[in-house]
């Protein structure tokens, strides 16, 4: 079973690598850095045609039902290519929408057919009984918002149209050029919105979606730091000072080796954690994977800048693209560290 498991994932990875490179790459990432939106219809449509947005959706709901391990393999290739479109969020949203009943079915269809982006949002009730959510990644690109509020029996998730009256959206820039949306929803708008998940059962679906998002972005960071390290290794072999390639200096060799340990080990953890979905360890495993991946990605991409010296500090060089993207993705899941402490 293990041989089969790894062989089919290797096939998915190979095709995903080519596709991700064609949709992504440092040149595209730089355009986002310079102000272009992360989401545009043609690329999203093309991504959907590969089935990626339906990867964690059950077959009964029109999906591929390939599970978290395949989701991670695709996300990892996305990260390797610095893919800007919100792939992980799309994949996780698909899994949640598929469990959200008939009302959500058209939204799920729009997502997996590549016609729209959907974000999952955790909102909190403010003092004036309105709802607020902050730092929603690429929220401005979403045609539909699935917003959750409340705990346990009070849990409720509703579909919101961000353009509807009573919904206010403000946008700020993340350090990689992508956008973070702040959302304010009036009480009346919230209670009028269709509820698609509720109570204990709905909360479990929501949690599972969050775990998939952690796993996907953890895998994305694995691909990202692997690509960043490869960039640095090329430079260490090429750049000469004192008459020799700087990569022959043991001080740098040992730090490059430490990065390699970090990348390889984190990747192993993420893929192992993906196999623990739907077991009682799912939550801790996904949180652990995300926690380690964001910490490792920061360690590695900071080193990658340092390995390049002054040119790494220059905006024109790609090293900074990797660091800023790692900062953005890591910040998105700051809650994972807390979950590691709470859920075992």
């Amino acid at each position: 079973m293990n041989a089969e498991h790894s062989a089919s994932l290797r096939m998915i990875a190979e095709s995903a690598a080519d596709a991700a490179a064609s949709f992504g790459g440092p040149v595209r990432a730089r355009r986002v850095h310079e102000g272009e939106p992360v989401w545009e219809p043609a690329t999203w449509k093309a991504i959907s045609q590969l089935g990626w947005l339906a990867i964690a959706v059950p077959e009964s709901a029109g999906g591929l039902q390939l599970g978290a391990p395949a989701l991670c393999v695709v996300a990892e290739e996305g990260g390797r290519a610095l893919l800007a479109p919100p792939l992980t969020m799309g994949m996780a949203a698909g899994a949640v929408l598929a469990e959200a009943g008939e009302i959500a079915a058209p939204t799920l269809r729009a997502l997996i057919e590549g016609l729209a982006h959907v974000v999952l949002v955790d909102a909190v009730e403010s003092a004036d009984a309105n709802l607020a959510a902050h730092f929603v990644p690429d929220g401005d690109a979403a045609a539909h918002w699935l917003v959750a509020c409340g705990l346990g029996h009070e849990f409720s998730a509703r579909l919101l149209d961000p353009g509807a009256p009573g919904v206010a959206l403000t946008v700020r820039h993340a350090v990689d050029g992508s956008r973070l949306a702040d959302l304010h929803v009036g009480r009346a708008t919230w209670t009028d919105a269709p509820q698609v998940l509720s109570g204990i059962a709905g909360e479990a679906v929501w949690r599972h979606g969050r775990h998939l998002a952690w796993l996907g972005d953890a895998a994305y960071l694995c691909g990202l730091m692997d690509a960043a390290l490869a960039l640095a290794l090329d430079y260490l072999r090429l750049r000469r000072q004192f008459g020799v390639p700087i990569g022959s200096f043991q001080a740098l060799q040992h730090r490059a080796a430490a990065c390699h340990v970090d990348v390889t080990a984190t990747r192993a953890l993420v893929h192992e954690a993906a196999r623990a979905t739907s077991t009682r360890k799912e939550g801790w495993a996904a949180a652990a994977a995300m926690h380690r991946a964001s910490a490792a990605a920061l360690r590695v991409t900071k080193e990658v800048v340092q390995f390049h010296g002054a040119i790494g500090f220059a905006d024109e060089h790609d090293a900074g693209l990797y660091l800023r993207r790692a900062m953005t993705i890591g910040a998105r899941h700051a809650g994972a560290a807390l979950a590691v402490l709470q859920c075992r």
Partner: protein, 390 residues
Amino acid sequence: MLRPESNADAAFRNEVRDWLATHAPDALRHRTFRPLPIEGMPWYRALSQRGWIAPHWPRAHGGMGASAVQQVILMEEMARAGTPDFPTQGLNHIGPLLIARGTPAQQQRHLPAILSGDAIWCQGYSEPGAGSDLSSLRTRAEVRGGPDGDRLVINGHKIWTTWGHHADWMFALVRTTTAGKPQHGITFVLIDMKTPGIRRRPIRTIAGDDEFAEVFFDDVVVPLDNIVGEIDKGWQVATAVLSEERLRIGSPAQALRALERLRMMLRATPADRVPPSVHEAAALVEVEVETLIAAYLEAAEAAEQGIAADSSYLKLLATDAVHQLLDLVQRVAGPAAALRDPVRRGEDLLDATEMFLQARRLGIYGGSSEVQRNIIATRVLGLPVAGAKS
């Protein structure tokens, strides 16, 4: 282990747990140091008779042929039960090496004795002048004629030989030719430690045990049949099962033992005497243990499937995890962190310093962490070798 267990694996775990609960001797539980042969080898033999002494050996050679998952289950359950470390040079080094490179006669003579515990092995690699730079070794072996034909005559000095003073046999690298590249002219040889001319002296470690020894050779006569592979080509023999050895030396076994120490120390220490940051670090360090297990499973399963995988980083990862865990044991222990001798409390062992000091060896033996990083940098990452013309 995060991996969901199949029904068969879960049954195996229960079987191991139950068996250890009734068979592992209380006096040997949570020992930091390997028990001396007279105390420890009966336990080795008990495990051997149960069929669990060599999980990673193929069945054809008397091993368990266990899957990577089963190997981790054994490590986890043994750590939980606190069973002691064994002499591992036979099971982890010369055994797999003879399976790969030994003659049928060498295999028949030595493998059963390793499995049964009748022969304890040591590794004769390091010398006073040859540590990280192993190929500079100078212990000489000359082929000389004797009354019954040719044999090797060995003169020299090995050091840092783990359990050299307890071993029945040594596998050693000796110099048979001095011309040419240093890696050339080294021969891999099996030496019966009862042979006249061998003197050994135990060496105490900073942890207080006699973990290793130095061994002197004075005209020690060894039959040519004891050479593994060809004469002068021992370097290739010694490195033939390197990736297998890297799996063993980078396994999560020690980290799981250290995690158990941390848990015991946490159980014994009132929560309000431990700073919140230490509680937090103790929870987060479990991520490192699971990372190591995941990395081990990945490398071991790749090996099972015959896929080339990088296992050279496992030892660094394992060493780092053990060191983090034992640093935390010290921080949890508070004022007890200076206590030399462990304290038994019920079934638990509160040890702040023994394993901490013992674990310094992990970054040194079997290729120091610095050598490991050199190897990764040049052979895995393709960085230029220092001093090489380019």
